[in-house]
């Protein structure tokens, strides 16, 4: 398995330049995409598909800050179990419940949902800043993995809001 950062010629750290990732991704795909090998022998077509699949997965992972953080933590031997809440601070668990209630109360109200979404996005930005600090500056993997778990919750909640908004629109 190829390591994602080096595939795109990036330093293995949380802070990346999205434009640089974009360019590198396109360069890799320009080399390996199956369209380049459509007229070539079967073996090459198969290898091209595998490479292009890898490039897509690597790009998807590194592009999304949360996925990137999880990947980095995995590389450092910290696996995040999505289904478990242990290790989360009491304060955050309480806040989590408040968020949930707020979303449930706003299910029929698009304006309220959008407001909640904006609030969530703001909190996420703050947490991503903290995450950057714990991964790249003063490294604290325990703290980083708690932040990742929180952000995973936030992302899930935001998806639920999106779906509710989509439901309201149709």
């Amino acid at each position: 398995m190829h390591e994602y950062f080096s595939l795109f010629g990036l330093a293995e750290r949380f802070t990346i330049d999205p434009a640089q990732l974009d360019v590198a991704y396109r360069q890799v795909q320009a080399q390996v995409h199956p369209d380049r090998f459509a007229h070539r022998p079967e073996a090459e077509r198969r290898v091209a598909m595998q490479w292009a699949t890898l490039a897509n997965e690597a790009f998807r992972t590194l592009k999304n800050p949360l996925a990137r953080a999880r990947y980095l933590l995995g590389r450092r031997g910290v696996e995040i179990d999505a289904d478990r809440n242990n290790g989360m601070s009491h304060a955050f668990l309480m806040q989590q419940m408040e968020w949930r209630e707020a979303v449930e109360d706003s299910m029929a109200n698009p304006d309220a949902l959008q407001r909640l979404e904006r609030d969530l996005a703001r909190d996420e930005r703050v947490m991503l800043d903290d995450l950057k600090h714990t991964l790249d500056v003063e490294v604290d993997l325990t703290q980083a993995s708690e932040l990742v778990r929180r952000l995973m919750f936030m992302e899930k909640l935001r998806r639920e809001i999106d779906e509710a908004l989509a439901q309201l629109e149709t």
């Binding site: 080399q31 459509a38 022998p41 198969r46 699949t53 897509n56 989509a166």
Partner: protein, 622 residues
């Protein structure tokens, strides 16, 4: 220089050796074939000079068929055996077909894919579509004067796996080598993007005869990147015809019509619909019982009012795609209209109203898909010229998942993922000593399996006895560049494995295709032999050349033993080439391919590393 061929594998070695390839728009109502000649993509005309082939097939008792204009004209004479809009049945079981198709044809449920009962016997939608594709292949070969290397066949972006597989099968049955299945709106974007040097975010609104697609693409520096796609694979111009026909029928009499008359009514409704594109009023000549005809005037307002709901139905996928791409209408630079049905003024005005700008119709909406497909086919066939350098990044339209306990769907690959894509997920056994696991693959966005499309079921057997939760079964989904899915399952501790390319539910098995090909060529068995032999000879020659070239360039990537074994394999194929047994040559090709698979991987690895280190310093911003 040594790596030139590898780093630019699509570049044609010799400009005079153009490989003939075509793009085919296999439409619900009309089909077209196009190719690139002298650097210009153009639709190829039939003998009568027209480029459009109506997608209508008429069957005769002795099994022969007539396709196109002649079949279109026979619709009211022989309605049951003259099949139009077969695309609506592709990859479908009887239960998924629409009422219109069921009322017009004698559809038969054979357990898997639906079949049409004709005077020539039962025909699958795949076979019927293959008749259309055959005519286009023959047209192209007659015009271009040689056999085709391959074809790009377009499909609605919103086609699911079964519909895509059925389309690919139809092409193979028609004797075409499928270079790629290409999404129709993406094909249109290629035509526009290259023609106008467009940059920015574009939307393609593609309302065809039977399907609706909406795609959002980002065009930048030679990359066509699909950001989101959505649609409705049973919404198209046909539905407008049917709505108008129903309305006319109720106004005229309401009495039941026989097959031939109700088909005549549908044909008339289509004529009126088309007339109302240019005129404010049209008089419909509506067949009534006995031999009567009743004249009913239809105003454009009336027509628009009675089809308003259909237009509105198309706007909800538009909004969904915008949401998926996290974009607002203002972010869209231009909306491109594709498909004959977008000629209707109220469709155009609805799109204009939503986006706050007039849509773009610079390229003939009926030809643009074929033109884009031809352009892509030319590149895929290896006719890429220096500087002609673009990259297409398309997505999968619908999420793929597995059935979990309680009939719930677990999504493995989410919609709008860039293809090719692969995802693996681990599952475990829930009973002590459980020795098998049923795997049910579904496609769709809904939470309940019953609301999704069932693609395939298979079983992983031979799991050794373990307590519940002890086994670790990894299920891997791989979607290739055609958007086609293959699924495999493997018990991690023991290595027990099962693999399925998702076909059996609604597709044809390889054996069935071979069987059909054989029966189709029965009267010309020698032709088929000769054709297969020629194909294998060409393929073998190419593989030998490519392999020898590779060894010359990258001998260091092979150990001495490996190299000797590859060289021995090449000699074996050379020996086979002296004979006339195409199956033996095919086997030789497969063996050589298998031997060189690792080598090819190492070469690509090396090429990519070189390309990355070589370009990073000067090309990256910063």
């Amino acid at each position: 220089m040594a790596l030139l061929q590898l780093s630019e594998p699509g570049e044609s070695p010799d400009p005079h050796q153009q490989r003939l390839a075509v793009g085919i728009d296999l439409g619900t109502t009309n089909s077209l074939v196009a190719t690139v000649r002298n650097s210009i993509a153009e639709c190829l005309p039939a003998e009568d000079g027209g480029v459009i082939l109506p997608s209508v097939v008429r069957y005769y008792k002795d099994g022969h068929t007539v396709v196109g204009q002649a079949a279109l004209a026979a619709q009211t004479i022989d309605p049951r055996n003259t099949i139009a809009s077969i695309k609506r049945l592709m990859g479908r079981g009887l239960a998924d077909t629409d009422a219109g198709m069921r009322s017009r044809y004698d559809l038969v449920d054979t357990g898997d894919m639906v079949r049409v009962n004709t005077v020539a016997g039962l025909r699958t939608p795949v076979e019927i579509s293959a008749e259309i594709l055959k005519v286009l292949r023959e047209r192209a070969e007659a015009t271009l004067g040689d056999e085709l290397v391959g074809a790009v066949i377009t499909v609605p972006a919103y086609f699911d796996d079964a519909q895509r597989q059925a389309t690919k099968d139809a092409a193979r049955l028609a004797g075409l080598n499928v270079l790629r299945l290409l999404n129709e709106p993406t094909a249109a974007a290629i035509a526009y993007g290259l023609d106008e040097g467009a940059e920015g975010i574009y939307a393609v609104y593609d309302l065809g005869g039977g399907t609706f697609d909406f795609s959002i693409l980002r065009l930048s520096r030679g990359v066509f990147e699909v950001m989101a796609t959505s649609g409705d694979s049973s919404l198209g111009g046909d539905d407008f015809d049917e709505a108008l026909a129903d309305w006319l029928h109720k106004k005229a009499s309401g009495v039941d019509l026989d097959c031939s008359k109700s088909r005549a009514l549908l044909v008339e409704a289509r004529r009126v619909k088309e007339a109302l594109t240019e005129n404010a009023l049209c008089v419909a000549r509506v067949p009534v019982a006995a031999d009567g005809i009743k004249d009913i005037p239809v105003s454009v307002e009336e027509f628009h009012e009675l089809t308003r709901k259909l237009v509105e139905r198309s706007l909800s996928p538009v909004k969904k795609a915008l949401r998926d791409a996290a974009l607002k209408v203002d972010d869209i630079q231009a909306v491109v209209m594709v498909g004959g049905a977008t000629r209707m003024p109220h469709v155009r005005s609805a799109v204009a109203a939503l986006f706050g700008r007039e849509p773009n119709i610079d390229i003939d909406p009926e030809k643009v898909v074929a033109i884009g497909a031809a352009t892509q086919a030319n590149i895929l066939a290896g006719n890429r010229r220096a500087g002609e350098d673009w990259l297409l990044l398309d997505v999968i339209p619908l999420s793929l998942g597995l059935e979990m306990m309680g009939g719930l769907t677990e999504k493995i690959i989410t919609r709008n993922s860039t293809i090719p894509v692969s995802k693996a997920q681990d599952f475990t056994t829930y009973k002590d000593g459980q020795s098998a696991m049923a795997i049910h693959v579904v496609q769709g966005e809904r939470e309940l399996v019953a609301d999704c499309r069932s693609l395939a079921r298979f079983e992983l057997r031979g799991i050794p006895p373990m307590p519940a939760g002890g086994a670790r079964i990894r299920v891997t989904f791989q979607v290739d560049a055609d958007g086609l899915l293959a699924v495999s399952a493997r018990e991690q501790t023991t290595g027990v494995e099962a693999h399925v390319s998702v076909k059996p539910s609604y597709g044809l098995s390889d054996e069935e295709i071979t069987g059909m090909l054989k029966s189709g060529f029965e009267h010309a068995a020698n032709d088929m032999q000769a054709r297969s032999l020629r194909e294998q000879q060409v393929e073998a020659g190419r593989l030998i050349d490519a392999t020898e070239q590779a060894i010359k360039e990258d001998a260091d990537l092979l150990s001495a033993t490996e190299q000797a074994s590859v060289l021995a394999e090449i000699e074996r194929v050379r020996l086979l080439l002296q004979g006339l047994d195409h199956l033996a040559i095919k086997a030789g090709i497969d063996a050589l391919s298998a031997k060189t698979g690792d080598f090819a991987a190492r070469r690509m690895d090396k090429a990519i590393r070189l390309a990355l280190t070589g370009s990073r310093i000067d090309k990256l911003p910063l």
